[in-house]
Symmetry: C2
Subunit: 166 residues, 2 copies
DNA sequence: TATTGTTATACTCTATAACTATA
DNA sequence: TATAGTTATAGAGTATAACAATA
């Protein structure tokens, strides 16, 4: 099994209830949520990155690899490597554009539609697991507070920024 | 500049205010907070991992590399590579244990003490930045809700789990 | 023989650069 | 000449395994 730290120990201010707190707790819980999701989605033979790509194509069918690269802040050659396995798995189809035969139009296959249904199931179960500790009211409260931060920090809804090493 | 996706696009349920939401927003905000912290701490010539290690040694001076490996869920050889730069930078000292000359006792140097002060400054500024959108009351509320989740999910206070690939 | 830490090796992720086909 | 995508190469991060010193 291949593990990675990425930024394993971002510990800063010490235990909870000390100065600081929210930022670290967000990083900690965010990593936990991402890890758990990766585990669950792995049972479908997918990675979180796969899921994100499928969704981006589902939202805007026919988009090019370049546009994906731009939105992800990633180099085009990376997108090639990212789409390849989805193509091989029969989930994404590369169709040469007839207007400009240099680029591909990316489309989901019927098989991908079925897989997306499975993904939605996993996502719902995941959400439930993460929020187990909260009442419905608390859940709504939390959502509101998190959105305040996300909006103020200028985060794009639905786009996970990834983790960049310094 | 070396960038990495790690699990860049963990997008799942689409835009905010849709079903799901909290888990993804946590992952998104957590990654954002971790990235911003890495940027800031990078100005001190440190990585988030460095900071976590320094803190772990500060909390329990004299601990061994093995104990770090165990707590981090990382292989001992990894700890060697992790401590090396801190040793070279004159922040951590490896002292051979007199009771058991196989292991080292890890200690922070005086220089590390000064660096830790800088880290605390950065952490405070970082916390302020992340919480800009919130009133003090909202901040307290958020902290409480996040702790509910963290406790229920069994997360260790102060230990960032890192991001493991499936 | 078992344990602490190190070194050597291999594998994965990712970016950069060179290349092909098309415009 | 410029653009979409691919391939080749190199560097960083990390685990596995073999090793040295000590117990």
């Amino acid at each position: 099994m291949n593990r990675s730290l990425c930024s394993t120990v971002t510990a800063v201010t010490g235990s909870r209830k000390q100065l600081g707190g929210v930022a670290f707790l967000l990083a900690q819980l965010g990593a936990h949520a991402a890890n758990r999701f990766a585990e669950r989605i792995g049972e479908l033979g997918l990675t979180p990155v796969d899921v994100g790509l499928l969704r981006m194509i589902a939202v805007e069918p026919g988009r090019s690899q370049q546009s994906l690269a731009a939105e992800l802040g990633v180099v085009p050659s990376r997108v090639t490597a990212l789409i390849d396995p989805l193509d091989r798995a029969g989930l994404v189809e590369r169709r040469r554009s007839k207007e400009d035969r240099r680029n591909y139009e990316l489309h989901l296959t019927d098989k991908a539609g079925e897989v997306m249904a499975g993904i939605r199931q996993v996502a719902t179960a995941h959400e439930g697991e993460i929020c187990t500790a909260l009442t419905d009211l608390q859940r709504t409260h939390l959502m509101g507070l998190l959105e305040l931060i996300a909006d103020q920090q200028g985060l794009t809804p639905g786009v996970h920024p990834g983790y960049r090493r310094p």
